[in-house]
Symmetry: D2
């Protein structure tokens, strides 16, 4: 499953609000609902009243913020960030939002995504004499804005954004304005809402539900939104192209209660399960899903096949950063970590085990074995995504193709490796069908690069794959 | 739901192991799997090598123990405890196991349950000159053992246990021995297992699965087990009576992957759902359960009625002790706390909402409202337990009957109060049937006191209810 | 110097106040001024308004108490304690005041001193069924009070005190009363003062100065003082004998600005220096004292001999509990710890180095070497106390005679061992003369047991020395 | 006294070592001995083995570094910093050394001093597109180095240093080299030493004594020293001018056991006292000094006048950052803070109170009152510096002349304000004479700007004083 590449994943969650006197507190609740997108660090910057104040730290939102800290953050606008990983070093320094103070005014940045030309831009900026504070891609934008020759900030930001390539959803807060920007392909989700008179923006709509806000619309790819006391203004920094939203948001990342680009995640996943049932039925006694992302899929699979859905695998909810991993010796003696099989449910049964993906295959193999040790007579693995055969450069950095088992093995070889009785992946076509899209969607589609190797953008560096030289996705 | 009386609930989890060189580490994993039984404090005492060492603290198991702390706890025997609540004050001091050192030898105690005559015993002991360290009931046993006139420890413990009335599962560790005791009615679950040559004991069998141990049998009501280097010895400190295991273990407390008194919890809960479907069907579009305890019930209800099961309510996983509760003003503006409705799933639908119980009714009302605000056209509440009409003295202290809505209102009145379109509770008979029991079970039944007012033991103090003066349960 | 036996020293500081609405805060400042008597732990208990509240912790007063903690401690009476050492284990649990809660009322205890029959009393109490919470001697008194047959608390305390042998200054606080008691020989200092209408009591008078209180009188040996809303009442729990106040209070422990039994410490120490100059003059260029206790002595020696006083040794002020001690390798390469010689002052000079005492001799040797390495041409050591030849059982536990270099070596042998050019100790007679006493002092004298082996009380256990079987000191 | 302007004082301490395998640990001890120069923050960067690692934090050296942290800092070169104040905000971010990483190599900076043209340089750099991480002056140098057009680092540093005006002692560490630079006037002390084969550099020589290193020479004003594996190389970045070392180093800052520019501080201060005795004798009974800086002065005054030196004022050693300041109400009731009078010493006596300086006069007044309340019949104040009449721009920022009592009042007016019986300041000539200088000193003199208004450098900004437009000091 995708969770196994934790540490490589650079997914994050962002939230912003303009025009509410409890901006910081609402951002706290918004970030809290986005906690699944990043558990390593959290931060909030407030502004809008002429000065920027911030608090950030390593850990969960509830660990980073005490009531005292929150109460100090007064202001009617705020942006916040939860961070998945501090890989790349820097620890505290890399926790966002990043805040840049200068005599000409301050600026805070929160970023979800991954730039493919960050190293190249950074090299050029350092050559020109800039000093970077962090190892974060995000800082590149601050330097580009600072060095832009445009006279007003909005134009400087627009000019700076044109240099960036890759996936980015940015929130920018100054003493007097908030900016919202989404990359021209719209790789990452970013939704707009209203809470009374206030404007809100978030990576997922679950953040709106939790604070009682109402959904308005998606931020469009290539759009730059500016909010200040005069109101809201939308402009474009890049021409309109079709959207390439990350398929993994539907398969793995987003919370079941969120709508991403207008589509409910739980429903989409249930449909993935139903589609899997059509594509790869099997005779079995129980269906079980690997928590949390595959629960909905398993329910859909069960509903479509008539095989009962059961809790065959339990996730221990209290595994946090401070959990002491069992030694190799203890693991071999059978000490489980965060997933346990339910013996009373699977013993003597033919089990369908639904998971979201197979990356290296080691986790799948471990779960299959666990189910057999708990008495399952057969284990049939059903994966709610196509085989991942290519690295992602837009947020999930598997570094090299070699680490992806599906890049170098057939389905049958993988089945043998993970010791399953049968194995099936969802087809690419099935994936697109199951997710579906409302007819009035402003976007045409999804990024399937990790399944197809067809990347919506140029990729710099030494990776040699099958590039799509146009910014238009073509499935 | 029962979770709403957090702070009053004195449920806990205990774990012990004898004869393994990584006793402390295995206890850590065991406690970790019992974390749902208590999140307020945790502790481990190791012994068996001639000296007792301990570490304990407030917070989750993963917060209390670092690798360094764990490595200091060397010894081939250990007992551990997770604590639900530190209500009653004392904080750190009340975190268990309690350790009592004296020139004649040391003794550590871990306790799950609630004594009904603790105050009375304590008063008598203080009159005789004893000084108590904690406000915990558990300490009473230590003083009774210390003051017993019996010459050897095993006899002192047996003599001391006869003074206790109520629910108790005790683990006792000395420099050279471990003792396991369960009260004569067996209110609390306590299972025995083996891990190679080592003996293990735990509140729930999920703790065995997590460390790779195999289940052996239940500890019997009134049994005292002694383990030392000579082996295991079982005796009785009270005559055999029929078991009165707490029904709430099945309905709410235990983890779905545990077997309690030989019965799998997930399966039992699914059966509760199927029984509810038989007793109280309704025309609806979706079934949803209040996480976590009612998920299995809802799946059973859905399976039996054919109405699709959906994730209509999402629990935020990261609400811990440090979560900052929203102010009243923000709650009124719609800020959610730990539960969110899934608009995409319930909007425009007739929803069956399954929950485990109704205590005060305020939580149920809030959830019903939340579902309606998310667009549900009808909300039908189905409860997987009978109405709670009487206080519990064996672990859930609701203090007075007045706080229990079902003690003073009819089902129809409750329905109106919680603003549901329909409301049904499971019948007592349905509850017993759904849980069922294997024919070779050593115990006849369950404690239903909170539904019936028929208490298996004498209750001291001023409460005037319908007492059953015999220690034999009669349903 | 005496500081070298840190960890064995059980000296402490106590402070109490009755009748001031900022009792806890004033106790904080009082304890703060007594910090030199104990840096390992601190605690405050407030009462007098019907309930006892406490806060305590490991570390300095300023580390243990934050403003928030202090503000929670409301009440018009308080007692506090600073602890020198937590040797004997127990850590946090042993930090005082100890608080004992029972259904019949609570009781807090703060103790300065050392009981010589604590083990014996503890053994008897445990035999009778008492359970001890701590490894502290102090707890013995609580159990004796609890078990006393007397009907009222004051009588119970008096009866309990008669069982104790050794050095003790006790403060006891209940919900409604404060008690003050000093052992029959008055080994430890304990002074009474007034702050407006409030009563204060402290180990040293510097605590009065710091809060602006005025000194009233010494607590008398064998006196029990009770303070409550009706006023103050003095009784005796033991007959009047002559005082045996610890000589080390004058030589080493007390702060220079305190008066102990009416005698100013700085003045007493300066007189020790003058007396040393009379007894052991030497031709030299500079006089320097080992900080802090010997500064005053060195000034006196310089004044009497006409040799200039200089800062030849500097103590690093920031060596706290968290200081990382240099490795043996680094020490050998010359890394200093808390004392540094001042090269510019001692180079090329004949130096008189004044210290308070020689216990094992290792520290003296290190300082002599340090001075020579810094260029001193001669080092003459002058000690402001007689040779320590016998262990102390009243607060400084050197355990065995074997560890005391003066018990087994002549002055000339010690001189050679510490590599000094000359060495002189103050005479016993000189010590008593230098300290002097006002004519109206209620006490005759001082305890000189560590110099003479003549102990004012019976000593239990296996130590065989020259006991004085009378409770009257005879020099 | 000068301590009263804590928070405005930007004095710091720096330490560096090259060529020792325990570089970080020795830097720890070195910084520890410089702790009196800064208690607000500390940091160490190690390098020399191809990569820079750092640890820093708010608080004392012993609070910031645990053994674990120290052991992680491996490398044969290190620089460290203790910081007096984090005024100017930024907290943790402003703690030094500052570390700047870039693709072309990393660079760490530790700085003692104050630049008078920092704001101007910063403004220019920000205009050119640089982004600053901190509010610290020190960062300016990093940006100047980064933007220099010179091809090699040594030349870039030299070029950058020429832009700086004011007081600076810099240590710079890269992966392969260490640089040491002192401003052209040598305002701050900076000494070189050897420890075996290793090179050491420190703000004060006490840091050499504590690690067993030997003093070599002063760093010369305008000198840039480069150390790498090839050896040591000294160059100049500015022409040789006469030194203007801060007089306050002798009067107040430095530790008594340090030599500053070859002169022992204790001896210099004793001479200040002797000179004061010549300039301003008085009939009195005791001489006492305000700890710590005036102890040596008072001893000198006593020696010269024959009046006995006594400990008339005691400083509480345990007043740290976490000390809870007494409320105004408690202060008025007599609660003392960090200084207490010794009643037994001053009561009934005519007291000479020696202090280092008078800034606002409020502290002097408080001490005079304290002594009178303790019974002093007369209080004669003697100050070991001339009146401070002008602000300092090189490290002590009193901001405006208005805050300096001596800028607007005569000596007699000040005497009345502080309620002394007599008051005398040391003359400028007396100050210079007392400090003296060895004949072979490479520097001509001291900065007296705060007494004279004659500043050795141009001062930017709006302050209008009497500027000395030459870089040569002229007294």
């Amino acid at each position: 499953m995708l969770a196994e590449i934790k540490g490589l994943n650079e997914e994050c969650g962002i939230f912003g609000i303009w025009g509410h006197e409890e901006a910081a507190t609402l951002t706290y609740y918004g970030l809290h609902s986005l906690q699944h997108r990043g558990q390593e660090g959290a931060g909030i910057v407030v502004g809008g009243n002429g000065t920027l104040q911030f608090h950030k730290g390593l850990g969960l939102v509830t660990e980073v913020f005490s009531r005292g800290e929150l109460e100090k953050l007064t202001g009617m606008a705020a942006i916040g960030h939860v961070r998945y990983s501090t890989a790349g070093g820097g620890g505290y320094a890399n926790v966002q939002p990043l805040l840049f103070r200068s005599q000409g005014g301050s600026l805070a940045l929160a970023h979800n995504g991954n730039l493919v030309n960050a190293d190249e831009l950074r090299f050029r900026l350092e050559q020109q004499g800039s000093i970077f504070q962090t190892t974060s891609d995000t800082e590149v934008l601050a330097h580009l804005i600072k060095r832009s020759d445009e006279p007003i900030l909005k134009e400087r930001i627009k000019e700076a954004l044109t240099h960036l390539r890759g996936a980015f959803a940015f929130l920018i807060l100054t003493e007097t304005e908030m900016y919202i920007a989404l990359d021209p392909h719209g790789f990452r989700p970013l939704s707009l809402g209203r809470l009374g008179e206030a404007y809100v923006v978030a990576s997922e709509t679950c953040a709106f539900d939790v604070i009682g806000a109402t959904y308005e619309r998606e931020v469009e790819p290539g759009e730059l939104i500016m909010i200040n006391k005069q109101g809201v203004r939308s402009e474009r920094f890049a021409p309109k192209v079709s959207r390439s939203i990350c398929s993994m948001e539907y398969i793995y990342f987003a919370r079941p209660d969120s709508n991403v680009d207008g589509i409910n995640i739980h429903t989409a996943r249930k449909n993935l399960g139903k589609q899997l049932a059509v594509e790869a039925p099997v005779a079995a006694d129980v269906v079980t899903g690997v928590p949390d992302s595959s629960i909905s899929v398993a329910i859909g699979y069960a509903e479509a096949t008539g095989i009962p859905y059961e809790l065959g695998l339990i996730k221990n909810r209290y595994v946090g950063r401070t959990f002491i991993q069992p030694s190799q010796a203890l693991r071999e003696q059978g000490v489980k970590m965060k997933l346990s099989p339910v013996r009373g449910v699977v013993a003597g049964k033919r089990v369908v085990m639904v998971d979201d993906s197979i990356v290296r295959g080691t986790t799948s193999k471990r779960i299959v074995r666990m189910l057999r040790e708990a008495g399952a007579t057969e284990v049939h693995v059903r994966i709610s995504s196509p085989p991942i055969t290519h690295p992602c450069f837009y947020g999930i950095d598997t570094s090299t193709k070699e680490e992806l088992i599906a890049a170098t093995h057939t389905v049958e070889e993988i089945r043998q490796l993970i010791e399953a009785d049968s194995l099936a992946f969802l087809s690419q076509k099935g994936l697109l069908q199951a997710i579906g899209r409302p007819d009035d969607s402003p976007s045409c589609g999804q990024c399937l690069a990790c399944f197809t190797g067809q990347y919506p953008t140029k990729i710099g560096g030494e990776y040699v794959g099958t590039f799509v030289q146009t910014s238009r996705c073509e499935y």
